[in-house]
């Protein structure tokens, strides 16, 4: 909780920061540092997902990748069917 600043502070106008400036800003800095840890975890998770998402996008966008993917799926399906018949 922010508090008012030191009344002897020459910069204080009587309406500016009140007593306890150091306490308030220190508590705020600590709260922000705790928040930063959570944000870093969120960012790490997003950045971990990014390469896969980009690969999927490239795969979707590139016709050669589509053809290759279709060929592999077809081959796989044929093999599975042949295997099932045997």
């Amino acid at each position: 909780v922010p508090e008012r600043a030191d009344p002897d502070d020459p910069a204080a106008t009587g309406t500016g920061p009140g007593p306890g400036t150091d306490t308030g800003s220190r508590a705020h800095a600590e709260a922000q540092q705790r928040l930063a840890v959570e944000l870093q975890a969120t960012l790490d998770e997003l950045e971990r997902r990014l390469p896969d998402a980009r690969r999927a996008q490239e795969h979707r966008q590139h016709p050669a990748a589509l053809i290759e993917s279709a060929r592999q799926r077809l081959t796989g399906a044929v093999r599975r069917r042949l295997g099932a018949r045997r």
């Binding site: 922010p2 508090e3 008012r4 600043a5 106008t13 009587g14 309406t15 500016g16 920061p17 009140g18 400036t21 308030g24 800003s25 220190r26 508590a27 705020h28 800095a29 600590e30 709260a31 922000q32 540092q33 928040l35 930063a36 944000l39 870093q40 969120t42 960012l43 997003l46 950045e47 997902r49 990014l50 998402a53 980009r54 999927a56 996008q57 979707r60 966008q61 590139h62 016709p63 050669a64 589509l66």
Partner: protein, 603 residues
Amino acid sequence: VNAARDAEHAAGRLRGRIAEVSTQLDRATNDVALGWAFWLRRQLASRRRPRPGRIKGGPLVSVLTAVYETDLHHLQQCLDSVSAQTYENWEHVLVDDGSRAPGVGETLARAARRDPRVRIVRHEHNAGIVAASATALATAGGELVVLLDHDDVVTPRAVELLVTALEVHPDAVLAYSDNALLRADGRVADPFYKPDFSPERLRGHNYVLHCVIARREAIVACGGFRAGFDGAQDHDLLLRLSEHGPVAHVPEVLYHWREAAGSVAADPNAKPYAYDAGVRAVQEHCDRIGLDATVERAALDGVYRVRRRPDPAQLVSIVIPTCGTRAPVWGVERVLVVEAVRSIIERSEHSRVEFVVVADEHTPDDVLDALHRLAGERLRTIGFAGPFNFAAKCNLGAANATGESVLFLNDDTELIEPGSIGEMASLLAQPDVGMVGAKLLYADGTLQHAGHVFPGLATHALLGYPGDHPGPYRMASVARECSGVTAAAAMIAADLFAATGGFDEALPHNFNDVDLSFRLRRSGHRIVWTPYASWYHFESASRDPSTGDAERDLVVSRWHTELEHDPYFNPNLAPHRSDWLERPGRAGAPPYYVDAAGHRRFG
């Protein structure tokens, strides 16, 4: 306080990066989420290529290409893309600028044998792109001219749509389109969806790029290609053409800029001399149009800072509505209006200001006393009675202001950039600039305002991005036109504000700045946002941030057309997003790819 601010900024950098990565993730997953059926339909559509030459008649269009040591495969693709145009009445004028590489001359000669519309001129010695382009222009017979780089590729309807743009805008001297990059593997990527013509932005960087259509007589009238501007000859020509008449924009990707090794598309440092030429091109443009400014290179390559000279004698009235709110900032409680005023007194380079503080009747006396002690004779306090009405308070302040221009400033702000007020005032010196907005940052250093974005109700461009982010296509690094700017920090000429009738008091909380921006634009004024003026904005720290239905309904009923079409956005971008995300299904869709043997293949 510094430690608390630094800690909040550190968290803000992470928050900004999260916003940026979220956009990238959305961009990457959009196409995938649409499903294979959509993808297949798009591929099939791209195979149904329109028949070349189906558009008969029309003016002769000369496509000008300077050729020098071009990769043969790239050159052939360039030639093929022109041959595939749906518009029939074209000629392709290619100037071989003394190429020694084997095959270039032969490739060109073969193309000319196949199609008489292909015309070849050869320079025996390499004379540079300006001389080659000038030769091409002198050879061209068309009344319209398309500029095309030797390794770029135009889409089949490019000439047709560019010609149509000039037909629709008969007074336009020039038309440009969106473009994408052409990767080394043949993939088309990174589409650049541009705004409609933005003269302020063109001074900041060549966002139009180089494949444009122009009227030949306009090019000749403005002096054609000029020697000494190699590397920035296109920027120089565009600036001079823009001085001759209106410029049209086709919001569609009509050409693919090749990302070849050694090209600026692949490496912005590839042609350092081009940026010095760019500085001269912009400087001479400013001199020609009477802009008292010095042009210099900005931090990013290819970006220029137009440093206008503010008039130090000009009185700027800073109108600040307040009720003397106390709120915590960086862990310490402050009286917002006092610190807003203090930051200007202590930091602003432009000192000829008056503060017109419009204070609610219940504003504490000690706040007003503190303001008087801080600002002395430069302060005027105006009492305001009645329920909260931001528009009415601003109007009252402006009516009591004596300055030539008025800076409307929220009380929950703190000046960052010392040159902000001078920068905004000097931009306003251009008579067609109606209002100027500033870069606003949240307390954590992330972007709060980089200009309004429509369609839909206003949002702020790149909201929540890192405060120092250059923006897509560098849009946050340059001054540029916007459809509107926030009145949290906006400057307008006092007489213009009075002439427009001020803010609409029927919009007491929200959208009064949107309404004023639209009225200014309707009267022919430009709204400019600049990154060289900046404040912290501890947004809504001093009042309830919620928006009212009545205000929303009023704005929508009054401005539904303007809300649906933002000329400084782009219809290819996802509406209701402020992060320049493409509409799903449009991102990087390749019309073809190039196989190992160098043949173009279609999905």
